[in-house]
Amino acid sequence: MAEVFNCPSSEISDTISFGDFQAWDSLSHMDLLMTLEDRCGLELDADTISELTSLDAILKTLQEMNHE
């Protein structure tokens, strides 16, 4: 996340979410999800784009993917 948002990792808190963090805007949101698609195999669709709007939601989805 720090890499996509171009900020120090210390700024990435556990509760970070789209809309509440200055650098997490519409464009960086898509950059973040496309990075997750490339590196973690996340399947991008309208639901993932609209639902993965917090670090918590992203981690849960990635954990569920690992269990499958």
Partner: protein, 397 residues
Amino acid sequence: MSNQTLSLTLDPVVPDFLIDQVQSKMAYLDESVQRAVVCPDGSCMTLYLVQELDLAAQKTLEEKIHRVLTAMVSGALKPRIKILEDKLDRKLPFNKDPMDTLLETGGVYKEGKGMYVLGPLVASLVEYFNRECVDLAGSFEARPYRFPVLISPELLERVDYFRSFPHSLNFVRHLREDLDKIETFAEHAHCENGCLVAPEETQSDIEAMLSPAVCFHLYQALSGTTLDEGVKATAVGHCFRYESSNLTSLTRLWDFTMYEVIFVGEKDFVLDNREEGRKRAQKMYERWGLAYRVESANDPFFVGEFKKQAAFQSAFQLKYEVRAALPFLNDTLAVASYNYHQDFFGRKMEITAPDGKPAHTGCVAFGLERLAFAFLAQYGFERKTWPADVRRALKGI
């Protein structure tokens, strides 16, 4: 008009949901391209060219096409189309292209590419739709604004317009404040093929542009402020969007009139008012007898930004278009839109909502010339077949 064509096989194949978008972007490939037609299955395309191309020019063109396809098509997500209202099955009395009659009878006069003089009938319809929109804005107690047709490059830069919609920009220049240069201009300026030819050094830097949207000016006016309460504003203004060879008839003008009701404030304030705007507009369409559908849509972002931004808009259902039936084409035309920008403009323009967070913004917007065109495409010129409200409003015209 040349009849040179170039037929190409497309790789990747263009999916049906992107054919219109890709086709319209081809107008910006190269000045040799007049028009592009992608075949219905998306596997091929015919380019209509101004002149025959040599092999090197053709190769360059093919490389550009590949760039567009790679950027727009590869990995593109199919949009989630949501239909909120569907009145397309309304029975309509007319099914011809009204432009034919309008041009033949002097109802409109073509002044240049994407530029038309509107005669009394079309002008009166535009005025009627404008009055209806004024009433709609009044029902929200929206406060009236008037905005300039010029806009500063800094404002467009601040809202990322250069990156998102570079293809539609229009520039304003004046002569340099220098007697020698003004006299040089006066001596040499002339027109060739419809374009001004004048010494470049006589002309200023670009310190103003033609405004592509109405609501940007409100966000500029509110920039740096903290709102005590949500803002409801309304304005009608000229919007300028260059659309190259896509500028045909009243459906796509270089300079068009947009009526907007704009909401700025907290998220729920904006979303609730946008939804209320949609519901109240339904009653107007009923009075106008409009055959239309309201469906989710995306803005015409340029090639590099298209895939990401269109997917984002679609996933969050940020934009809905009112698409009016054009029976002569068996197609629809966007005549209005209901837009929600989340806190994009609030952040960019540093507008703070009453809750202390960046303000959310949204608007309901109506394209007045397109409404007039769609009405004539649906009801034609025989007044007795028009809906009573419209007939009454235009009595004596």
